[in-house]
């Protein structure tokens, strides 16, 4: 619940952020017990590929629900479910693309 509220707050206070991701996501997620990196790994664990991960995140942001959350029940029960995104399709895609680029595993292993 808290997570979703934070995301909404993030989206609301993102006017001063540098890009769609910074503007709409980072600020709120900083308040959460799980980092964006941890959440990203959760999505990877469930969805595997870029297309699937992006589609999974997008679907959750548009239709948030405990049943489809990649996070643990404990986390969801603690933080709650976020509110439905109010971002435009374009801005949502941009934010998710930036999120993927920032935390993806491709090219980071050595």
């Amino acid at each position: 619940m808290v997570k979703k509220i934070l995301i909404v707050i993030c989206l609301g206070s993102s006017i001063y952020a540098e890009d769609a991701f910074e503007r709409n996501c980072v600020a709120c997620h900083q308040e959460l017990p799980a980092s964006l990196q941890e959440m990203f790994k959760r999505y990877l664990l469930v969805y595997s590929s870029e297309t699937n991960v992006k589609a999974g995140i997008k679907h959750y942001l548009k239709y948030p629900s405990k049943d489809i959350s990649a996070m643990s029940d404990l986390f969801v029960d603690t933080t709650g479910i976020k509110k439905k995104t109010t971002l435009s399709q374009k801005e949502l895609d941009q934010a998710i693309d930036i999120y993927w680029e920032k935390y993806k595993v491709f090219g980071k292993l050595k």
């Binding site: 990196q37 790994k41 990877l44 664990l45 469930v46 969805y47 595997s48 590929s49 870029e50 297309t51 699937n52 991960v53 935390y103 595993v105 491709f106 980071k108 292993l109 050595k110």
Partner: protein
């Protein structure tokens, strides 16, 4: 058309050889195909057996690697060192087969089989339920020592060659069975000719001797013509008799080689056949230079007699029989009916006759071929239908 002078050709007729070659070509192709199919099946089975032997070890490696990925997933991105193991190489792929990280030597990866041979390496594919670092597929790669392949090739070559030779021997046996009826009919005909020719000698000699002794000067014209006809018929039979005798009795005799004056012999033999030539109103055309040949006169006479006899027999009325002789080359030609190009290779086969209206057994040219082969004389046949034939001997 240059006819090969291989003596081996005499042992088999052209038609026999052709049938035998066709049979053997088909048989060899079938046997080779069969061996290839069996070898390929054997190879694949052995490969599968080897891979299944490797499966347990590779599964263990994949399990270990999955555990390490789980740990790395947990600590990512503080730790980014991909887990390596000296026993194997590995790669991880996402659910869309995109490579996340790979240290494989063989980059060509198959996702449709659990265990496969890729070049000199074995690939084992493990599918994960939890996608650590996004990994759906782990590929484990180990090098193949190739020992199993060496053993398989040895077996394939060894057993393959053994089977091939076995089938070839079997094929020879089959070919013998296949040719037996043809061979039997030839042997039967040979035996018949041998038996009958023996009985022809005495009456034929008597006829010819008496014709020679008759005084034609005192005969009336009508009787002289009749005698001529008897003479022609007797000489035709005599030539045939000589061929058959040669074929059945004389060819085994020891050769009595001598230097023969070819020009004189041709003139003599042409003279002998004059009466036959006159019956078809043929004329001779001679262009003879002195020439010698060292061989058995009896055999050379058979060659010349047969060539002249054919030139007369297959000529047109009022035609020409020509003789061109230089040292080392004799051409006997006619302006007769000629032979089809496709039939030329078969004319030296025994019992082959192209014109059933003419008499004979079809043994003449078979004798010619046998003799010229024995003395390494080239024989060339140039012929065009309705234009004539040139028989060229080169020694």
């Amino acid at each position: 058309m240059l006819v090969s002078k291989s003596r081996a050709t005499n042992s088999l007729l052209g038609s026999e050889k052709k049938s035998l070659l066709r049979f053997f070509a088909l048989y060899v192709a079938m046997v080779t195909l069969l061996i290839i199919v069996i070898s390929s099946y054997y190879y694949q089975t052995q490969e599968k057996l080897m891979l299944s032997n490797q499966r347990a070890t590779l599964f263990k490696y994949a399990y270990i690697h999955a555990k390490r990925l789980k740990v790395l997933h947990h600590f990512f991105d503080e730790r980014t060192d991909y887990p390596r193991d000296p026993r194997f190489k590995s790669a991880i792929y996402d659910i869309e087969h995109m490579p996340i990280f790979s240290i494989l030597e063989e980059k060509n990866v198959r996702f449709d089989e659990e265990i496969t041979m890729v070049g000199d390496h074995i690939h084992f594919l493990k599918s994960l339920d939890d996608f650590y670092l996004g990994t759906k597929y782990i590929i484990i790669e180990v090098e193949d020592d190739g020992l199993w392949r060496e053993l398989i090739w040895k077996n394939i070559i060894g057993y393959g060659l053994f089977s091939f030779f076995f089938f070839m021997l079997f094929g020879l046996y089959l070919a013998k069975l296949f040719l037996k009826p043809m061979r039997d009919s030839i042997v039967l005909l040979d035996r018949f000719i041998k038996d009958t020719t023996h009985e022809l000698n005495t009456p034929l000699s008597a006829i010819l001797a008496n014709i020679e002794m008759m005084d034609t000067e005192v005969m009336v014209e009508k009787n002289r013509t009749k005698l001529n006809r008897i003479n022609i018929a007797a000489k035709t039979v005599s030539t045939l008799y000589k061929d058959l005798t040669y074929l059945t009795l004389e060819q085994e005799k020891e050769n009595e080689n001598e230097h023969i004056d070819v020009k004189a012999l041709i003139e003599d033999r042409a003279e002998y056949f004059t009466i036959l030539a006159q019956s078809k109103k043929l004329t001779y055309e001679f262009d003879l230079a002195p020439a010698m040949i060292f061989m058995d006169k009896r055999k050379f006479t058979r060659v010349i007699d047969n060539l002249i006899s054919n030139a007369i027999k297959y000529n047109k009325r009022n035609g020409i029989v020509g003789f061109n002789l230089v040292q080392g080359e004799l051409v006997i030609w006619d302006r007769g009916i000629g032979i089809k190009e496709s039939k030329i290779p078969l004319i030296f086969d025994r019992y082959i006759r192209f014109n059933k209206s003419e008499g004979g057994f079809g043994v003449g040219l078979s004798i010619v071929k046998k003799i010229v082969d024995e003395y390494n004389i080239h024989i060339e046949v140039l012929s065009k239908v309705d234009e004539g034939t040139r028989m060229i001997l080169k020694w």
